[in-house]
Structure formats: C-alpha cells, structure tokens
Symmetry: C2
Subunit: 134 residues, 2 copies
C-alpha cells in the first residue's frame, strides 16, 4: 500500500461524502482566475477513494502529480494514471476519477466555470464497477 | 547547490535565449483549454536562470512544485518562492520570475490568452538587479 505522496500543497478540507466514496482532501488554490473563467485546486485521494460520476459543462483539466489512479468515461475502459499524466476532460462527458486500490493519488484540477456551475454530480461509482478495474 | 527537482513532467524544450537569461526547460502540457481561454505548461529553471521582464494582458497563475526561486513586480521587493506557493500575476503588471542562485526552480504556468498574445516580452533582468536579491 503506497500512501506516501509528494505533498506540494496543503491537504485542505475533507471532500464531501456526497461526492467522494472514501477519503479525499480538497484544497482550493485559486477560487477564480483574473478572467473569471476557471478555478484551480488540488485533490489528494486516499487508496480506494474515487469521486462520483459527474460532468463539467465547460470542461476540466487534471495534472497528476503523484500516486496511482484512474480516469474513466462512461462506457469506456478506465485509463490508469500516474505522475506526469495530463487529462483534458471533455465538455459534458460523464466520468469519474480517483485513486487505485493500493495507492494514494494526487492531482491538480483546473475547472472551468459555467453559468450552471462548474460540476454536475451524479450517482456513486459502485464497488462492482470499481473492483472490476485492473 | 540544489539542482535536484521532483520531475513530475518531462523537461521539454530549452527556453529561448531571447526570453530567458540562463538555462530553462519549457514543456507545453495543454496548448489551449476547451474554452480557448488559457494554456498550461511547466517550466524548470536551472540555478541563476530567470526570464526577462514581461507582462500578461489577461494574467497568469504560477503553481510552484519544487526548488527555490523569485517573483518580482517592477518597483516592488522580490518575493521568495518555494514548493506549494501560488502566484496570481495581475493583468499588465511588469514582472519576472526565475530560480535562486543556488537552486533549481520548477513551476506550472496557467497562461491566459488574449487577442494581442499571452505575453509581451521586455528587457533582461540585469545581473545588478538579480545579484541584489536576498
């Protein structure tokens, strides 16, 4: 079990159980950029933690800084992620991201704002869905 | 002399001598986000390297991931930077950033686009200016 992460940013607050299945830590770094287009944050997922299925009306970018995790779009194979990977999450695509079973996982998020909010949360990623990965 | 960095991203190409005084490595991670508002990259400065004085017409955000460096706005005291620091660079403010004399320095950049380009380059930070820092 690898729970050591290169802790670049402070851990912040625990992510809400309404959106995270497991323990995650969310730190807001820049609430809103100078153009009002996006916000920047950092998320640390403990092993086995993942967020719910969700969409972004104007997209999101993930910059993976440590650990091992997953990104999965609905109906697609899950993509394994590690340090240095970048994910450009398309507009309105249903997806989730989170840690591997045996490792913590840390990523920076750049989340574009939209009139209807930056994210629309949906149902949990079930244990059956998560346990079927790699 | 600390030249060891936590190399999260690939080093990319060497920064142009027109804009960098010393050796820097620039990796473009996302050329343009889904809204067309910004691009994302990573810059590694070797010890003593700094970029020229410059401005951003719609701002830039720096996320420092390793090493020791500086951010200075024209006419202001230089701000020392290290891992976990975040700099929100205001619109049209003349500034530079770069490594400390005795350490490499790595930051992610989120650079907002503008009709006149993301950056306007100016003169070099002189040795006199740089050597007067802490």
């Amino acid at each position: 079990m690898n729970t050591e992460q290169n802790e670049i940013f402070q851990r912040g607050d625990q992510g809400s159980a309404d959106y995270f299945n497991g323990t995650a830590w969310v730190k807001i770094l820049v609430p809103k950029d100078q153009t009002g287009t996006y916000g920047v944050g950092n998320v640390v997922f403990e092993p086995g933690c993942r967020n719910n299925w969700h969409t972004h009306a104007t997209g999101q970018i993930l910059l993976i800084t440590d650990g091992k995790g997953w990104y999965q779009e609905k109906g697609q194979a899950a993509r394994p992620l590690t340090k240095g990977d970048v994910v450009v999450i398309p507009v309105d695509v249903v997806h989730w991201h989170g840690a591997a079973k045996d490792s913590s996982f840390t990523h920076i998020v750049i989340t574009n704002n939209s009139p209807e909010g930056p994210v629309k949360w949906m149902e949990r990623v079930s244990d059956e869905e998560y346990n079927s990965l790699g």
